[in-house]
């Protein structure tokens, strides 16, 4: 469908608003904590309690942090959200597609789909899942860095899948801990930069 200048410009304004709201790095920090928690699960099974609690309370806690650190600096905008059903359908379809592609690819390359093979290639599967989320973010924000992180995540998954670990779960554990640490570190750098770059706007008045 041909897009007019106006539609393109409005899309750019929307992407800028989205990009601005993401520049505090808090989302990356929370994603990093979640991935590290998931990685730790394979070593300490009890962390499943932490993962569930974190997933439940993270949005509320994230919003509290944004109210304290982000909105007083750059303001607040409630962005349009995709309908939950459409989002869920999109995530489910993408996950299904990734699994089917992986099954077909593994069958073509290795000639079977054993559980061992599946465990071994789970970092690539996880990398492909993350790639979907990051491409979505890149499209919403028009920030090409998300594409770079997506490629990095996918390549890291591929490398850890090719490397032969002794234990079945080591590959995915290392992948989740590594990517979680990367996201956490990246988010922290962005957050500190954000605090320095944007001082609290106390004198702003609309009167």
């Amino acid at each position: 469908m041909e897009k007019s200048m106006n539609e393109v410009d409005l899309k750019k304004i929307e992407q800028k608003a989205y990009r601005e709201s993401m520049q505090d790095g808090l989302t990356e920090i929370f994603l990093g904590i979640l991935l590290v928690g998931m990685g730790a699960y394979f070593a300490v099974k009890l962390t499943v309690v932490f993962i569930v609690l974190f997933a439940l309370f993270a949005p509320r806690f994230l919003e509290k942090l944004k109210r304290k650190y982000t909105y007083p600096r750059i303001g607040y905008a409630k962005l349009h959200e995709d309908p939950p059903r459409k989002t869920a359908r999109g995530i489910f379809s993408y996950m299904l597609l990734v699994i089917v592609v992986m099954v077909v690819a593994l069958f073509i390359i290795f000639g079977d789909i054993s559980a061992d093979l599946w465990y071994r290639w789970s970092p690539t599967l996880m990398g492909a899942m993350l790639t979907g989320g990051l491409i979505y973010l890149a499209d919403k924000s028009a920030d090409p860095r998300y594409y770079g992180i997506a490629v990095f995540g996918l390549v890291a998954g591929g490398v850890l899948s090719v490397y032969r670990f002794e234990s079945t779960w080591t590959g995915i554990t290392v992948y989740l801990l590594f990517m979680g640490s990367c996201f956490f570190g990246l988010g922290l750098i962005r957050f500190v930069h954000f605090l320095y770059e944007y001082p609290v706007q106390e004198e702003i008045t609309d009167e």
Binding site: A17, E20, Y76, A77, K78, T205, D206
Partner: protein, 106 residues
């Protein structure tokens, strides 16, 4: 101007929206559900006084809804586009397209 030299699309342009600052405010509010005063100031590059004055005109026209509240002891202003404002903005965009298309054909 349309093909038959009709000036009607130009006459139909909403002058309240046509002002650049107000057009920016409406465009930014069009792509979000709501935004606060600080966010709009940063996005549009307007000063507080300028934004406030244009905000009042748009509110008087019924194009935007302004909600004032207190967060702690500080005043906080949230702005959102009304359905009337959304329609007016869309119509403005349509009219401008017609005008610009007409100009490019000459």
């Amino acid at each position: 101007m349309s093909e038959d030299g009709d000036f009607e699309p130009i006459a139909d342009i909403n002058r309240l929206i046509h002002e650049p600052a107000r057009l920016m405010i409406l465009a930014h509010l069009y792509v979000v559900e709501s935004a606060d005063f600080l966010f709009l100031m940063r996005q549009t590059g307007l000063t507080g006084g300028n934004l406030s004055s244009h905000m009042s005109k748009l509110e008087e026209a019924g194009y935007i809804k302004v909600d004032k509240e207190f967060v702690g002891k500080k005043p906080h202003t949230m702005l959102s586009l009304t359905s009337e404002g959304r329609t007016a903005f869309r119509e403005y965009v349509q009219n401008m397209k017609q005008v610009l298309n007409g100009l490019s054909e000459t």
